[in-house]
């Protein structure tokens, strides 16, 4: 009896971390102010999840499926364009 395993424990269906929607862990969420945002990309560089996208049209936007609400983006933004608000569940 026991777990079924592959040889050497090799994982062939890679990329399976996207199946875990870490966005549900959130207490705070970032709110991006498109007018204040200068599209500099600093928030995207600091985001530990790598889920912030910068577009000319909308400025910074986070993929909320995976945003854990850590607030690093808001802390790093030089233009005060990101505010952390309590997530309403």
């Amino acid at each position: 009896m026991g777990e079924k395993v592959t040889i050497g424990g090799i994982i062939y269906d890679v990329g399976n971390s996207t199946a875990t929607k870490t966005g549900t862990w959130r207490v705070f969420k970032p709110v991006f102010d498109s007018d204040k945002c200068k599209r500099c990309g600093i928030c995207a560089k600091f985001c530990p999840e790598g889920i912030i996208e910068i577009t000319q049209e909308k400025g910074a936007q986070a993929n909320m499926d995976y945003c854990k609400g850590c607030g690093i983006c808001a802390e790093e933004c030089p233009f005060d364009a990101i505010k952390m608000e309590v997530e309403k569940k």
Partner: protein, 384 residues
């Protein structure tokens, strides 16, 4: 072609014939002549391999694991402290099921520092999941290198292999060796075509991942079973080699030499040549040479030893804290399980390079033939 050449040089030729694609090596006595010879072959264009000159043995084994994980045939060689420094990665290589072959030129471990032969270095890796094959002659080392890749890469095995040869006694000795032809080796050993672990951007995979207790335990259990199952492949590959090249070493697992006598000496490596000389002069003693030490040949040894009056286990290692050699309790386990009444004794000899003479062998047989449970250490006097 049969020529007289140094053991290390002969083994380097065997490795060249196996066409490894990556070799990561760091020199250490007495294995140094192997990387030296291989580096020369690469420089001369006789071997098309990537040679990585790393800064330590830890890196040597790490780079070898990395190379093997991309799906190429990889090689490294070391001795003693070098193998000890590799230890962490040695376990990873087996757990990741990478078919690496490593030549170990056996040497004592510190402290005190000693550059000479014993087998403490590989014995200390006996639980790592690597197969271990010990050679008696330089010809056997050459032939075993070629067999080792075929064993390691077999789909039923996929485990790394240590080919063990005694430092100086084999590595630095000139003796006749038949180096096989490339064409014959190519026929025997096809290119490595990995199906389980390789680098392909279109087919990404994760190797050596984190595992929770249950999958970890399941993988260790599988590994343990698979290492035991590898024995059949060691034998099969040995037999196939014997058929093609005309050279065999016992049954590939153990070699019984005049083992129809009441006393049997069990030993590994080059010392078996000297023991055979003594066996030829007596009528009460035979030799059982353990060639494949891991997986441990329990069934073969039970059959070869269970009806003996006396079994003398000769070892070039010390299991500190047990006050015997490492194989002594293993042989006792085999005999106990077989319901044998054989008396078992243990000789620890050849430690740190002390010479083991015919006289030594004669004398320990005389001292131990009526004894039971004695563990003795040879001190290096040729007449002891």
């Amino acid at each position: 072609m049969k020529t007289v050449m140094e053991g290390s040089n002969a083994v380097a030729h065997a490795i060249r014939l196996c066409k490894p694609e990556v070799m990561a090596m760091f020199p250490i006595t007495p294995s140094t002549h192997i990387p030296e010879n291989l580096a020369q072959m690469v420089a001369d264009g006789d071997l098309d391999a990537k040679l990585i000159t790393v800064e330590s043995e830890f890196s040597a084994m790490s780079a070898t694991v990395g190379a093997s994980a991309t799906g190429v045939r990889a090689f490294t060689a070391t001795s003693s402290q070098g193998l000890a420094l590799m230890h962490e990665v040695v376990y990873a290589a087996a757990g990741m099921r990478l078919p690496i072959v490593t030549t170990i030129v056996n040497r004592a471990l510190s402290a005190p520092i000693n550059i000479w032969n014993d087998q403490q270095d590989t014995i200390s890796e006996r639980d790592s999941g690597w197969l271990q094959i010990y050679c008696e002659t330089n010809q056997e080392a050459v032939d075993t290198m070629i067999q080792a890749y075929k064993i390691a890469e077999d789909k039923r095995v996929l485990l790394p292999v240590f080919v063990c040869m005694d430092g100086f006694i084999l590595s630095h000795t000139y003796e006749p060796v038949d180096i096989p032809e490339q064409k014959d080796v190519d026929e025997f050993l096809p290119p490595y075509k990995p199906e389980h672990a390789f680098l392909d951007p279109d087919k990404p995979m994760t190797m050596g991942p984190f595992a929770y207790p249950k999958p970890y335990a399941a993988m260790r259990k599988e590994l343990s079973k698979d290492v035991m199952k590898a024995k059949a492949v060691v034998k099969e590959v040995h037999d196939e080699f014997a058929k093609k090249f005309g050279r065999s070493y016992g049954n590939g697992i153990i070699e019984e030499y005049k083992n129809d006598r009441p006393i049997a000496i069990v030993a590994m490596g080059s010392v078996c040549g000297t023991i055979k000389e003594v066996v030829d002069k007596r009528d009460d003693v035979g030799l059982v040479r353990v060639r494949c030490y891991r997986p441990f040949p329990k069934e073969e040894l039970a059959k070869a030893l269970k009806d003996k009056e006396n079994v003398i286990v000769f070892e070039k290692n010390v299991a500190l804290g047990l006050n015997s050699g490492a194989m002594y309790p293993e042989i006792k386990d085999v005999l106990y399980s077989a319901g044998s009444k054989a008396r078992v004794n243990n000789v620890i000899g050849g430690i740190g390079g002390i010479d083991v003479t015919k006289e030594n062998v004669e004398n320990f047989i005389e001292r131990l033939k009526d004894k039971e449970g004695v563990v003795e250490f040879l001190g290096g006097d040729p007449n002891e």
